[in-house]
Symmetry: C2
Subunit: 356 residues, 2 copies
């Protein structure tokens, strides 16, 4: 791991210093149509490197995280004479950093990358860990690489334009990191609110710094996800099942909302199977109930939810459902094979706790 993590609300200075340290190579700025409109004008005033860089704009949204978009980026890099010494600066959310990262990782076998995440989810999740990728032939993130950026510049200044839903969605990953770290970090997170009463960018930046550190520690121990990195899947097996069911009902829910609620189910299973302390479970479930809309389902939905969990690509064998669970806050146990009965019980308890 050589990736630099820079936590600052002086993003322009950080970029100019990095580019200057590299000997002022040619700069390519990858944005999507949203960050082109809302972030780029502000950022250009703060940094010469971005101001003088060649801007490449991609379409926004996960639906455009495609090979077609990557080819467009490759062609623009080629036409503008990008070399292996050039620097790509990705300015945007996860789609921009995933896709721009993949385009840069493969152009002339790899250019240097600086990520400037502009969403909370991007800052706490996509900015660390070196996963790049695109969707392919109907599968999410099917094509990609493990390639770390040179640096990620993490700030909260851009978040003022995010919706409450976007802020909460990113905060769910922070809650997950809190569960993986310590009671103290979890308590700080549960005592804060990302959306009310006020948005405080400096306090949030400190919380993000702690949160990203947790992810970085896990990733460093297992870069290519052979084992320990699977701890980061906490809440995601059930979360993905909730997302899939919501999509099937044609009323999709944000990823982070599904993760927050998936974490509640994972903690219930952790309590049942590993004795995870019930007071922490209840505090956590309370926070999720108050801040995230409860995901609604009844026992008729259990078979389809179990089916989604069984097809999660993180399962080691096709027919067993394996979870990342916690014996305590900060004590993750990966690959916990769980029976359908245990899952059904956990879903019963979840519905009861969430009042649905």
């Amino acid at each position: 791991m050589t990736q630099k993590l820079i936590f600052t609300n002086l993003v322009g200075d950080a970029i100019d210093t990095l580019v200057s340290d590299l000997g002022n190579p040619s700069v390519f700025v990858i944005v999507d149509v949203n960050t082109a409109q809302y972030v780029l004008p502000v950022l250009s005033e703060q940094t010469k490197a971005v101001q003088n860089g060649k801007v490449i704009t991609i379409k926004s949204g996960d639906i455009n995280k495609t090979l077609d978009s990557v080819q467009g980026v490759w062609k623009e890099l080629q036409d503008a004479g990008a070399t292996r010494n050039s620097v790509v600066i990705n300015v945007g959310g996860g789609v921009v950093t995933d896709l721009g990262g993949f385009a840069a990782a493969t152009f002339k076998r790899g250019m240097r990358v600086i990520n400037v995440p502009t969403t909370l989810l991007g800052a706490v999740d996509a900015s660390v860990g070196g996963k790049t990728g695109i969707n392919f032939n109907g599968y999410k993130n099917e094509i990609g690489s493990f390639t770390e950026p040179l640096a990620s510049i993490i700030s909260t200044g851009f978040f003022v334009t995010l919706s409450q839903q976007e802020l909460l969605s990113g905060y769910a990953e922070m809650l997950k990191h809190g569960l993986l770290d310590s009671r103290q970090q979890l308590a700080e997170l549960l005592n804060y609110s990302v959306v009310y009463p006020i948005f405080d960018p400096d306090r949030l930046l400190t919380l993000i710094e702690d949160s990203v550190e947790v992810k970085q520690r896990v990733v460093e121990a297992d870069f290519e996800e052979a084992g320990a990195r699977k701890a980061l899947n906490l809440g995601h097996t059930v979360g993905h099942a909730f997302e899939s069911l919501a999509l099937k009902r044609q009323s999709p829910i944000p990823h982070g909302f599904a993760v927050a609620q998936g974490c509640v189910v994972a903690l219930i299973l952790s309590h049942i199977k590993l004795g995870f302390p019930s007071d922490v479970l209840h505090n956590f479930a309370d926070y999720v109930r108050k801040n995230y809309t409860a995901f609604n389902f009844d026992c008729d939905d259990y078979p389809v939810l179990l089916d989604y969990m069984r097809h999660d690509k993180k399962n080691a064998t096709p027919d067993q459902i394996a979870f990342t669970l916690l014996a305590d806050v900060g004590d993750a146990r990966i690959g916990q094979v769980t029976t359908d009965d245990e899952i059904r019980s956990a879903l019963d308890i979840y519905r009861d706790m969430m009042g649905i």
Copy 2:
């Protein structure tokens, strides 16, 4: 570097041992239409892993080293349920190992790869160094990655079906490695002939082993080609210019032939600029003249040749021509900026030595 290099003419056993050591994951065998016809039937009889593997066939030739072919491979991997634990076995020349390597490096962010080069050029060049790639939008190897295979199994048994031209083309890279290594290795190579009086697969395997070791040593010191790895470009700046001129005349020459002759020009420049010993130069030039058809040009071609050299992508700055030269056998000096006059003199001497 964790890549295993296995030199053996018992290829089937080597594959089965590797696959068994990996716990017998699902196997995908990538071939082109030629190796599908000539190599695969033989190999299938020697190894259960290949026999039971799913075969993916791509079109042959550099013209098919495209993103379209890669997408075809990705789709077949997807349809057959390949996972990150599956193993890809590339059986073929440089096109198969480059393209198959890139497809595998990016599918689900990276599968494990075993290379089985079936050409001499593939064995001594593409099998070591971890470069994968495809052509894109008119540029060679524009898109790719530095991703090492788990292992390369290097054998000479498959070479009996290669043409003299193919054998000589691969041998040119071995001559280059000899120049980069030692007088002894160079002498052994100049005392051998890959095409006559007889083809001796066991003796050739030993020579290949020494040759690949040279490349591996250089690559290990500088995996991502920041500096020292440029030594491997010896002979390639002029060689590429010869190739381009031949292509312009619509009578293309094999890459290795261009490299062998490019090495002669590089040694002449090395003699002029760095005092490279003239007896070695003359021995080397003799060997090339006898074994490789002399590339024919006169002084009217100098401007276009200089122009090709100026546009070589390995030049650090756009207007200077920089060569890898040798102060002596085994003593490479990269980035030797050379004037047009020096190059013209070297081309004069080359024509004289080669009798053209």
